[in-house]
């Protein structure tokens, strides 16, 4: 899932200053799971901004709605009535959702209510942790299913740096050394010999460093004209 942190309410309040009708739009998928931008958080944000406005004697309409996924147009269309009423939308989706909103509704002013942070997992109730940087060339089969790019603070590919101590990372002693995790895991599954394989320098052009990426399935994308007869 993609995770994020709701922006400070004062920052959101400053963004929507001067607008009369403010819609807070939640996203029902990733950011619902990490409890940052789902329906509940959208309602909480709307309530908090209304209370703030009342305290300051500012009267404006602030309400909330939610769609299943802001990164899909078919779901965004469900919000069309809300969007039509709004002078501004604060999207609590990740940055993908915000950008898709402005593509689908080109005349609409949409501001981000979240700081999008990482792709990760639910580690325990109330704790989410980063797991993948979307490097475009996954090596998890070589590293026991533990990502060296994400779990190692320095994204080292062939073993720990000299600062790894007692299983902790030198960048922050409260986080485990990613390479210690890899070694422990390889040992547990009887694949320690994989450490003898040298991972070559990574081709970062497959990552975002090569520019914005696309995924295209031509068979799904559209249909070619089909002539009569054997093809």
């Amino acid at each position: 899932m993609i995770t994020g942190d709701r922006k400070p309410l004062e920052e959101i309040a400053a963004m929507v200053e001067g607008f009369e009708r403010v819609l807070i739009l939640g996203c029902g998928t990733c950011v619902t799971v990490c409890m940052a931008g789902g329906e509940r958080e959208a309602e909480e944000t709307a309530l908090a901004l209304r209370l703030r406005g009342r305290e300051r004697g500012v009267s404006r309409e602030i309400w909330y709605a939610n769609v299943e996924r802001q990164c899909d147009e078919e779901f965004l269309q469900e919000a069309v009535d809300h969007v039509a009423r709004a002078d501004v939308v604060v999207s609590l989706a990740c940055g993908c959702g915000v950008q898709h909103m402005v593509t689908v509704f080109p005349d609409l002013i949409v501001y981000p209510g979240l700081n999008t942070t990482f792709m990760g997992v639910t580690e325990e109730l109330g704790v989410w942790a980063e797991r993948c940087l979307g490097c475009g060339d996954c090596v998890l089969e070589r590293t026991g299913g533990v990502c060296p790019i994400t779990r190692c603070s320095k994204s080292l590919l062939n073993g720990p740096c000299g600062g790894s101590a007692d299983g902790a990372c030198e960048v922050d002693k409260t986080i485990p050394c990613g390479w210690q995790l890899i070694i422990d895991r390889l040992e547990a599954i009887g694949q320690l010999q994989r450490l003898d394989e040298v991972l070559p320098p990574k081709d970062w052009s497959k990552s975002h460093s090569g520019g914005p990426r696309f995924r295209i399935r031509e068979d799904v994308r559209g249909t070619d004209d089909v002539e009569e007869g054997a093809q």
């Binding site: 309040a13 509940r40 309530l47 908090a48 209370l51």
Partner: protein
């Protein structure tokens, strides 16, 4: 919608708060407390931060949760959960420049009704609770 303007909204556990605030002795509570509306919960553990924010949005001047003290909760962790929920609401209120003393938590035992009402009256007059 501000139809609860100026009143205190009390969310209470049905085991501890309802006997004091709603049943026969509720009349006595009304003598000692300012105008309040009572909303029963099966356990304080079901207090949702959104319930508290919605109550404030309805115009309540303060919101207080009343339940069993820790160790006496029939569902074991109700009062701790309520404290966490109110703590979250307090953080949200502070973020928008409001005073977290608008919300409070009163824990006690139904066999000491007087003490509970006294604590509630204290909260009502100070407009402040003990939520960290």
């Amino acid at each position: 919608m501000h139809d609860k303007e100026g009143i205190m909204i009390i969310f209470g556990c049905k085991h501890t708060a309802t006997p004091i605030l709603e049943e026969a002795s509720g009349r006595e509570a009304r003598v000692h407390l300012p105008d309040f509306e009572y909303r029963e919960l099966p356990c304080l553990g079901s207090l949702d931060p959104l319930m508290v924010l919605r109550a404030l949005d309805e115009g309540a001047r303060s919101v207080v949760a009343v339940g069993c003290f820790q160790g006496r909760c029939r569902h074991l962790t109700g009062s701790q959960r309520a404290k966490a929920a109110l703590g979250h609401v307090g953080d949200v209120l502070e973020e928008v420049g409001l005073d977290r003393s608008m919300i409070g938590l009163v824990l006690g035992s139904p066999i000491d009704q007087r003490a509970m009402i006294e604590q509630l009256a204290k909260f009502a007059t100070n407009d402040g609770g003990d939520v960290e």
